[in-house]
């Protein structure tokens, strides 16, 4: 039963979807505060390489090394995001160009590659990796075994993050303020909310999430360092935020859907099932679906109902607000 196509797809969808989920939660926080950060791919890669480096260096218990690895990844992602925040919030640079610059600076031809070769990380297995924590007998339970109990701790931590981010944005006062800043920074400013501080904090925390997303590659999914290991996951994470109508809980659903699509083509091939040009449509679906959602949310009034921040991508200048 646990070999049924659907069970395998959902289980691997959860595994492959986890980096997308972390990346999307981070981007969600930044976008809700009105900052579009196209540098997710770059931040992820720096997080991935730094997490890998940390677990190679730390001696001692595996758990300590892994926790440190994730924390270092979060910190490096946050540092990358701080560059973007400084440029777009303080210096009012174009968010699009700055985000792309961040991906070039940090990405597969930039800093992450520099660090990977300079710290001599290529072609080595990770010294410590995340494993499933539940006993093998529970992982064998029908359906819930592989899907729920066969995952690593980063997956369970991401569920906590979804609840935390969702609760924060919907139910807390600072969360409400972030949304105000993303919707109408001028009005938020008049209410006494520090627009600049909010945008900095959420962009930087968003970067930390992207760093953790990167660490899920090098510490769990494919535990080694290869240049450009994230393979475009950062861009899917950006798409995912839109696909999920800027909501944390829908990010989870979308991440697992996109993750399952990534697993679909090899699974079908292994089972000798042919559904047309499988790789073409499974790979393209996340992007096409996001375009469709973008068209839907741009219908008059729909954007506001569905949660698109009205001031996304617009710099805030008090004198000109």
């Amino acid at each position: 039963m646990n070999n049924a196509l659907l069970v395998v797809l959902i289980a691997s969808g959860v595994a492959y979807g986890t980096p997308l989920l972390y990346g999307a939660l981070g981007e969600l926080l930044a976008e809700r505060s009105g900052v579009l950060n196209l540098g997710v791919e770059g931040m992820m890669l720096v997080g991935a390489v730094m997490a890998f480096w940390t677990v190679q260096k730390v001696t001692g218990s595996s758990a300590l090394a892994l926790v440190l690895g994730v924390l270092v990844a979060a910190f490096s992602g946050a540092v990358m995001a701080a560059i973007h925040a400084f440029l777009v919030v303080t210096l009012r640079a174009s968010q699009i160009v700055s985000g792309l610059a961040l991906t070039i600076f940090a990405g597969a031809v930039g800093l992450s590659s520099y660090l990977g070769s300079d710290l001599n990380l290529a072609d080595k297995p990770a010294a410590h990796t995340f494993h499933a924590i539940f006993p093998a007998s529970m992982q064998g339970w029908p359906i819930v075994g592989p899907i729920v109990f066969g995952q690593n701790p980063l997956v369970y931590a991401s569920w906590v993050c979804v609840i935390a981010v969702g609760y924060y944005l919907a139910r807390t006062r600072p969360g409400l303020s972030v949304r105000a800043v993303g919707e109408s920074p001028g009005a938020a400013d008049a209410m006494g909310i520090d627009v600049v501080k909010y945008r900095y904090v959420h962009t930087i925390v968003g970067g930390a999430f992207a760093g953790v997303a990167g660490s899920t590659f090098t510490l769990a999914l494919t535990p080694q360092w290869v240049n450009g290991i994230t393979g475009g996951a950062g861009w899917i994470a950006i798409a995912l935020v839109i696909f999920a109508f800027w909501r944390a809980e829908l990010c989870l659903v979308g991440a697992y859907f996109f993750g399952a699509l990534q697993a679909l083509a090899p699974e079908l091939q292994a089972r000798n099932i042919s559904l047309g040009p499988t790789e073409l449509w499974t790979n393209s679906t996340p992007y096409v679906a996001t375009v469709v959602v973008l068209v839907l949310v741009s219908w008059r009034g729909a954007a506001r109902r569905l949660g698109a921040p009205a001031s996304l991508g617009v710099p805030y200048v008090r004198e000109e607000g």
Binding site: R92, I96, L100, A101, G110, P277, E279, L280, S284, Y287
Partner: protein, 382 residues
């Protein structure tokens, strides 16, 4: 004492030149610190870099190969961004240009057409393919008010998977299906010789091959400059970029203009794709680690931003960034820190973006006392 900035009423022209130059110098200094901190000798790294980019024999040839696609995608981004249409889909438009141009070259070349005719058809086909792909986000923006930023970005990936599909996952018209190599590794069908773009030999540095595409890029830059600076169309589009409301009151047909700008931008990127096929690859390159790894479309935006969206500056910057890219590729592994080129490019761009603030704004030191004066009076318009 507090440092604030205020908007300049007039932007001094010299700053437009100083900012990029200072950005490059600043980037080289910061990267030198990074190199020092990680135990490399910055001077020797830089010497290697400039040798490989511009000085050693054959380096200019390689730099031109890297610069030509950047010139097209840079012009594509400049054509759109200048008019506040944010087409970041040059990457995908370049792929589609390559696909359609390769089809034209294979078909017309195979029928034995005269070479200039076949090449001209490839240019037109590439432009058409790029423009058609750009028209998707263009139509969505013009008729559904959907932000073209994200739609054009998403379509890049769809185009990339289509390109891979045509060569790797299907027996399409573009794929080489006969011969020994075709069974070992999937490749594109080679163009017939009358569809290959001839380079133009320059007698300097032991002979430099100037790709035909580089010449076309020069003409395209000229055409773009004339179109935006000297025609009614260019003026109307500029008004639209500054204020959509004003343009509409003035009777500008905004939908058509947005579509036209998207199509022009896409066509430029598409010719870049045609040049990839005709000038360099001589077949459609569907390898996910080939053309798609280069990221010409994204670097083009960087090139355009550094050139401040001026077509001629874009060409110059494309040459310089192309040199860096070429050096990064040539020096890979050979005792040269990998990723350095991306780091330098990133810092150049960060500082150019930061410097842009100084072009548009003037820094001013405000004394604490005057903060009270700056508080708006009740009823003042914010």
């Amino acid at each position: 004492m507090r440092l604030t900035v205020e908007r300049r009423l007039e932007q001094p022209r010299w700053l437009g030149l100083v900012v990029p130059v200072v950005s490059v110098v600043f980037a080289l200094l910061v990267a030198a610190l990074v190199l020092l901190a990680t135990g490399h000798d910055p001077l020797s790294s830089y010497r290697q870099l400039f040798d490989a980019a511009f000085l050693s024999t054959g380096s200019i040839d390689q730099t031109l190969i890297a610069a030509t696609p950047l010139a097209f995608t840079g012009l594509a981004a400049a054509a759109a961004f200048r008019m506040r249409v944010f087409n970041i889909g040059a990457e995908g438009q370049l792929y589609l240009g390559a696909i359609v141009a390769a089809a034209a070259g294979l078909y017309l070349g195979g029928r034995g057409g005269a070479s200039p005719g076949v090449i001209a058809a490839m240019v037109v086909a590439g432009a058409g393919g790029g423009a058609a792909w750009a028209a998707i986000p263009g139509v969505l923006r013009a008729f559904f008010r959907t932000s073209e930023i994200l739609t054009s970005l998403m379509l890049n990936y769809v185009a990339g998977y289509l390109l891979t599909y045509l060569i790797f996952q299907s027996e399409s018209y573009w794929r080489q299906t006969t011969g020994f190599n075709a069974k070992v590794f999937p490749t594109g069908k080679p163009l017939p010789s009358n569809a290959v773009w001839p380079p133009w030999l320059l007698h300097a540095q032991g002979g430099i091959d100037l790709p035909l595409g580089a010449g076309i890029a020069l003409l395209a830059a000229l055409a773009l400059w004339v179109l935006y600076r000297r025609t009614r169309f260019g003026f109307e589009v500029q008004v639209l970029g500054d204020s959509e409301g004003a343009a509409r009151y003035a009777g500008v047909r905004t939908r058509r203009k947005i579509l036209a700008v998207m199509a022009i931008s896409g066509a430029l990127a598409g010719i870049g794709g045609a040049s990839q096929v005709g000038d360099f690859a001589h077949a459609l390159d569907g390898d996910p680690n080939g053309l798609q790894k280069q990221g010409y479309g994204y670097s083009g935006i960087v090139v355009a931003a550094l050139g401040r969206y001026n077509p001629f500056a874009v060409l110059l910057i494309a040459f310089l960034i192309g040199g860096l890219d070429n050096a990064g590729n040539t020096l890979q592994g050979a005792n040269f820190p990998s990723g350095l080129v991306g780091v330098i490019q990133g810092i150049i761009l960060f500082s150019a973006l930061g410097g842009e603030l100084l072009v548009r704004h003037r820094p001013r030191v405000v004394r604490r006392a005057s903060v009270a004066e700056a508080t708006p009076l009740p009823g003042a318009v914010q």
